[in-house]
């Protein structure tokens, strides 16, 4: 066990390359490592989505070199139905776990949470280092499933039992593939639990002088709320994965019912509960959606405030709304299971809190819109992506009205409507949050600016492209287009194939735009213009320290905080913005006293 009592930054600055850049205890290095892992995972996930989209648009199109990935999965470079599902499962798993959880939460949170709270480091740096390396191992365990046995699992990222629990009789990838999947996710859970432990303790105990909880920036609050969700959600997913592995390798019957017959053979399991897996999974799964999106809300608010030169209408209301989302997210998970065979009365019981969750979401959107009013909005890549986030969040959010109602869910469940909904609201919106954070914080993380023209090109293609991809998903869903199909052979689906072709083209173009981002990221890291400590004239603590921040974040003297986080355009102040560390006396009636 790690020494729980060690105060932060008791570790001196490392000198060897390994301790500095590989097994580093420094939260900033760990944050960058998480970012790099997320970037790699995102590129793999995107490549998988390209392959899937091409297959959905032009089923017989041979993608050169694909057989190198799997000669049985893609004979003649054309995907087989099972390999499509296998790639789809990997796309979902990689994106949800290793991109949407790691990038906005673990990567940015690690880098900036201690700085924004005025801490020297996380309280348990060894746990923090373990958190990353455990996640790293989890990622490669998952990737390994491409190359062992008959490939990765085809059960979808939700991995419904009993298909996932019966072993290789279930189909290709259901043998070793599922075991690797569940192992990878269980490992990932451990990593995120260690991370959440650090995040929560940092927020509660490591704040510098004068940094009351309400003086924390919205990003810090978002990460704090996310880590509380992560702590509870991943602590439930891990035991579920352990039970799944046991069903698989030890022949237990947690999830596999009696008398199941496959290939004319009765399976040896008995009495397991099919719905148990779904309950455990979605108890994690729904908060996971908020784990992906709440950090984005924080980042977007933070970026917008700086670029609007005014604080949010109400700091507290935003915090309370995010907290309400977190609490409600545990009460609504059953809306994923309306037609699962669960008691129909509980469907109604889950429906109402789901509808209620639109209230805090609406408040958050109204806060953003109301704060835009009367602002001095500056347009740059970071603020464009933030505004794009709001647009995407609205578009993805309104479709939630439909899916929250069990009666309409009868028609829309498991169709592309659902796919469109969650891609917009937790995929694209969360990605836009990551992009906004990247453009905004890149100068602090590296000391250099990213290229604005490239950033804007990236934004325009991504914004229009994402709508071209995911809006039509909703139309397909309304027309009854079932998801997780590798080809559309049903009579009523054939007329929809042109829509799929359109989406494929849009997806390829949008994917290309992401390569611009990657180029921008790498080019600017080495060749971008060198920036000052506070290029955006921000007020929170990360802008009062040097760029890049020294090993203990603030150098010789630790900061003292005198103000609320966002003192912009304060009347009577000496400049447009008053930093949190500035002892200047200002007359702001809204500031906490």
């Amino acid at each position: 066990m790690h020494d729980m009592s060690a105060p932060a930054a008791h570790h001196g600055a490392p000198t060897s390359f390994i301790r500095k850049h590989v097994f580093s205890l420094d939260h900033k290095v760990i944050g960058k490592q998480y970012y790099a892992l997320a970037l790699l995972a995102a590129l793999i996930g995107m490549a998988l989505s390209w392959i899937m989209r091409i297959h959905l648009g032009w089923g017989n199109f041979a993608i050169p070199g694909l057989h190198l990935l799997s000669s049985t999965g893609a004979p003649g470079n054309v995907l087989t139905p099972e390999y499509y599902l296998q790639l789809m499962t990997m796309h979902g798993t990689i994106m949800v776990f290793f991109v949407l959880t790691t990038a906005p939460f673990a990567a940015f949170g690690n880098f900036f949470l201690p700085i924004q709270t005025g801490a020297e480091d996380m309280p348990f740096p060894h746990f923090n280092m373990m958190s990353f390396w455990v996640t790293f191992v989890g990622f490669w365990v998952l990737i390994a499933s491409f190359f062992v046995g008959d490939g990765p699992t085809l059960g979808g990222w939700t991995q419904y039992a009993p298909l996932s629990a019966i072993g290789s009789v279930g189909g290709p990838g259901q043998g070793l593939g599922v075991v690797l999947w569940a192992t990878s996710i269980a490992i990932f859970c451990i990593g995120q639990l260690l991370g959440s432990l650090n995040f929560i303790t940092t927020t509660l105990d490591m704040r510098c002088k004068g940094m009351s909880l309400m003086r924390l920036p919205l990003t810090a609050w978002a990460w704090f709320i996310t880590s509380v969700m992560g702590l509870t959600a991943f602590a439930v997913l891990m035991p579920a994965c352990i039970l799944l592995i046991l069903d698989h390798v030890a022949g237990t019957s947690f999830f596999v019912a009696s008398n199941l017959v496959i290939n004319d053979q009765v399976l040896p399991h008995s009495g397991g509960s099919t719905l148990l897996w779904q309950h455990l999974f979605w108890f994690f799964g729904h908060p996971e959606v908020y784990i992906a999106i709440v950090p984005g809300m924080g980042i977007v608010s933070h970026v917008l405030i700086t670029n609007m030169r005014k604080p949010m209408l109400s700091h507290r209301v935003l915090i309370y709304s995010m907290a309400a989302l977190a609490v409600l997210s545990y009460m609504v998970y059953g809306h994923h299971m309306f037609v699962s065979g669960m008691n129909p009365v509980s469907s109604l019981a889950f429906s109402f809190p789901t509808l209620v969750i639109t209230i805090p979401s609406t408040i958050v959107v109204l806060m953003w819109l109301g704060s835009l009013y009367g602002s001095k909005l500056q347009i740059n890549s970071a603020s464009l992506f933030s505004l794009g986030f709001i647009s995407m969040f609205i578009s993805g959010g309104v479709s939630g009205f439909f899916l929250a109602q069990p009666s309409i869910d009868i028609m829309l469940h498991a169709t592309y409507f659902v796919v469109g909904h969650f891609h917009l609201v937790m995929g694209v919106a969360a990605m836009f949050g990551i992009f906004a954070g990247t453009y905004f914080w890149f100068p602090k993380m590296t000391g250099r600016m990213m290229s604005e023209p490239l950033g804007k090109a990236h934004f325009w293609l991504s914004f229009v492209g994402a709508y071209c991809i995911f809006m039509p998903f909703h139309y397909l869903g309304i027309a009854g287009n079932v998801r997780r199909y590798q080809a559309f052979t049903d009579d009523y689906l054939i007329p929809l194939i042109p829509v799929h072709k359109f989406i494929t083209i849009a997806a390829l173009i949008t994917g290309f735009a992401q390569l611009i981002f990657v180029y921008n990221l790498i080019y600017s890291r080495f060749k971008g213009p060198v920036e000052t400590d506070n290029p955006w004239q921000g007020t929170s603590l990360e802008w009062s320290t040097a760029t890049p921040p020294p090993h203990n974040n603030f150098g010789a003297t630790m900061p003292v905080v005198y103000h609320d986080p966002y003192q912009y355009s304060v009347e009577g102040a000496s400049s447009d913005f008053v930093m949190q560390t500035s002892p200047e006396k200002i007359n702001n009636p809204n500031e906490e006293k």
Binding site: V78, T80, P81, D150, G171, P172, N263, A487
Partner: protein, 247 residues
Amino acid sequence: MSKRYNFAAVLSAVVLICCGALILNQNVNAAGEGKITGTVKLDGPAPHMKGIDMGKDPYCAKAHANDPAHLETYVVGADGGLANVVVYISEGLSGSAAAESSATEPVFDQKNCMYTPHVLGLTVEQKFKVTTSDQTTHNIHPLPNPMTGNIPWNQSQPPGAAPVEKSWKAPEMIPVQCNIHPWMHGWFAVVKGPHATSDTKGTYTISNVPAGNYTVTAWQEAAGTQTQKVTVAAGGAGSANFTFKPK
């Protein structure tokens, strides 16, 4: 330089010897080997074979619109001849003859949502092809007993897809099925040495049998196995007729 010449010389020698061996081998076969022939019959009236309802897949249903498909557990000809019986030499073969595998590559076709042939006789390690003639996707899912060393596989074959080429490691009667069309059932009969499968008249001919005393086994997927002793003279023909009772 000289090393390379040496290598080339050795290589040519090896190739020559191999060719010679192949030619000699064929000569021996042609000169000294006989065959086993016979007829397989079913005792009593042909059992009722259930019709297959292909309503699930319009392509399949259309293919059988005028010619309803039936189960192929017993395919009985006009005069009681039983088809799809695999007859093979189960005892008496020398090691080399048993290990011998045929050079031809048999084809297991998926046609009109049925397997053609219903039973495919194969020798161990013999390569075979699974092809599809249908405009609908099939998945080929052989279910060998894992204890035998044969590895199960399960692979989809969409219309127009390239043939799947495989072979089996150990002798076994392996059921094969298509999960997409649950009625599609067939067999890979993997045996050692020469074998034959009876046609709709019930007749079969095992060729390339060296002279000797043998035990011949006939296997039918539902009725089981029967054995007989047969003697084959050099260049001559042995005979073994079988009669199965439906189970």
